[in-house]
Amino acid sequence: MASLKDLKNRIGSVKSTQKITKAMQMVAAAKLRRAQEAAEASRPYAERMSAVMANLSASMDSPDAPRLLVGTGQQESYLLVVATADRGLCGGFNTNIARMARERIAQLLRDGKEVKILCVGKKGADQLKRLYGKLIMKVIELRSAKNIDGTIAGDIGTQIRTLFEQGEFDVCQIISSQFISVIAQKPRVQTLIPAREAIDSSVARPDLKGALYEYEPDEESILATLLPRYVDTVILSALLENVAGEMGAKMAAMDNATRNAGELIDKLNLEYNRQRQAKITTELTEIISGAEAV
C-alpha cells in the first residue's frame, strides 16, 4: 500500500504529464489546421496534373515512349518509398503505415521480387530497420525542413529519378497515409513509376469529340518535362497529406492521453482521501481508547 506521501507525489507527476499532453494536443490542433489547408490547396494542381497526364499518356503509344511513363518493361525490382512522420506520439499513425509497408514487402519478397526501400521520415525507418534493415537504401529526414513544399518533394523526386535512370528498380511505389478526415487516416500504396499505371485507372478523360491534340513544341518534349513534374506532384501531395494525418492522429492521441490522465488523477485523489480519512479515524480511536484507559 502506497503511503500518503507517495500518493501525493504520484498525483503531482500525473498532473504535470497531463499538462504536457494538453499542450501537445493544442499545438497539434493548430498545426493541423495549417497542414489541412496546405493539403487541400495542393489538391487542384494534383488533380489537373493527373488529368493532363491521362490525356497525354493515352495518346502516347509508341514503343519509344519515355521510360518514366511506360516503365522498363519488367517488374522485377521494386523501390518502395515509405513516407511516415519524423516524430512519434501520434497514436497508430506511423505504425499503420509501417505495417502496410511490411505487408507489401513480405508479399513482394514472396513473389520473388527484389525490394529496395527509401524511407522518408525517421519513424518508418525505425520500425522497418529490424526486419528489413538491409533493404533500406536511404533515410530522408524531414525534420530539417520547416515546411513541406515543392523543393523537398522535388529533391526526393530527383533522387528517385536518378536511381531509376541508373536502373536500380523497375517499379516505384509510395506508401503514405491518406488524409480522410481529422480522425481518420488510411495508409495507401500509390504507384509512381511507371506513371501510366497510376494514371489510367483513376481519371476520366474528357471527350474530345473526335478532335486530335496539337502539341507545342511536340509531344515528346512536353512529356519529358511533364513527367518529372508529375512524379514530384504525387510525392508532394503524399507528404502534405501525411503531415495533416500526423497532426490529426497526434491530436486524437493527445486528447486521449489528457483524458486518461484526468481519470487517473480522479482515482488517485479518491485513494488519497480515503487513506487520509483512515489515518484520522485510527488516530481518533487511539486517543479515545487512551482516554478510557485512564
Binding site: 496546405a38 490547396a41 495542393s42 487542384p44 494542381y45 489537373r48 496534373m49 488529368a51 493532363v52 490525356n55 497525354l56 513544399d149 515543392g150 474528357p206 471527350d207 474530345l208 469529340k209 478532335a211 486530335l212 491534340y213 496539337e214 502539341y215 507545342e216 513544341p217 518534349s221 512536353i222 518535362t225 511533364l226 513534374r229 506532384t233 508532394l236
Partner: protein, 134 residues
C-alpha cells in the same frame, strides 16, 4: 460574345483562378497564344511571362513561371510551377531579389549552385520585363 471559356490556373500551392472568362493570352514556349471559347484541343509548354485574363472587359495579369497549358473541349487549364499576380509584385522587393541573385551567380562555388542561381535570375528578369510591360 455569348460563349465563355472555362479557365483554371493552378500552382502547386494553390488554385489562383477558376471561372468563366472571355479570353486568355498566354506565353507559350513557341510564342504567345490566345485561347478563345471552343478552341481546338491543344497543349503547350509555357515560358516565364505574364498571362492576360480577359473577363467582362477587364484584364487581369498574372506572372507565371514554367508549366503547361492544356486546352480541352471543357476549357483551358494552366499548370504553373509558380504564379503570382502582377499587382502583388513589389518593385522594391524585386529589385532587391535581382541584386541578390546576381551576386549569388557571381559567388556560386560550383556549377550546380551557379545553375540554380542563374535560373532564378532568368525568372526574376522575366518577372521584371512582365512588370515593365504591364
Amino acid at each position: 460574345m455569348g460563349e465563355k471559356l472555362h479557365f483554371d490556373l493552378v500552382a502547386p500551392e494553390k488554385r489562383l483562378f477558376q471561372g468563366e472568362v472571355d479570353m486568355v493570352v498566354a506565353p507559350g514556349s513557341e510564342g504567345d497564344f490566345t485561347v478563345l471559347p471552343d478552341h481546338a484541343p491543344f497543349m503547350s509548354a509555357i515560358r516565364s511571362g505574364a498571362i492576360e485574363i480577359h473577363k467582362d472587359g477587364a484584364v487581369e495579369k498574372t506572372f507565371i513561371h514554367g508549366g503547361f497549358a492544356e486546352v480541352t473541349p471543357e476549357g483551358l487549364t494552366i499548370l504553373a510551377e509558380e504564379a503570382i499576380r502582377l499587382n502583388d509584385i513589389d518593385q522594391a522587393w524585386l529589385d532587391q531579389e535581382l541584386k541578390n541573385t546576381k551576386e549569388d551567380v557571381q559567388d556560386a562555388k560550383d556549377d550546380s549552385a551557379r545553375n540554380i542561381a542563374q535560373q532564378k535570375l532568368a525568372k526574376l528578369e522575366a518577372m521584371k520585363s512582365a512588370l515593365a510591360n504591364a
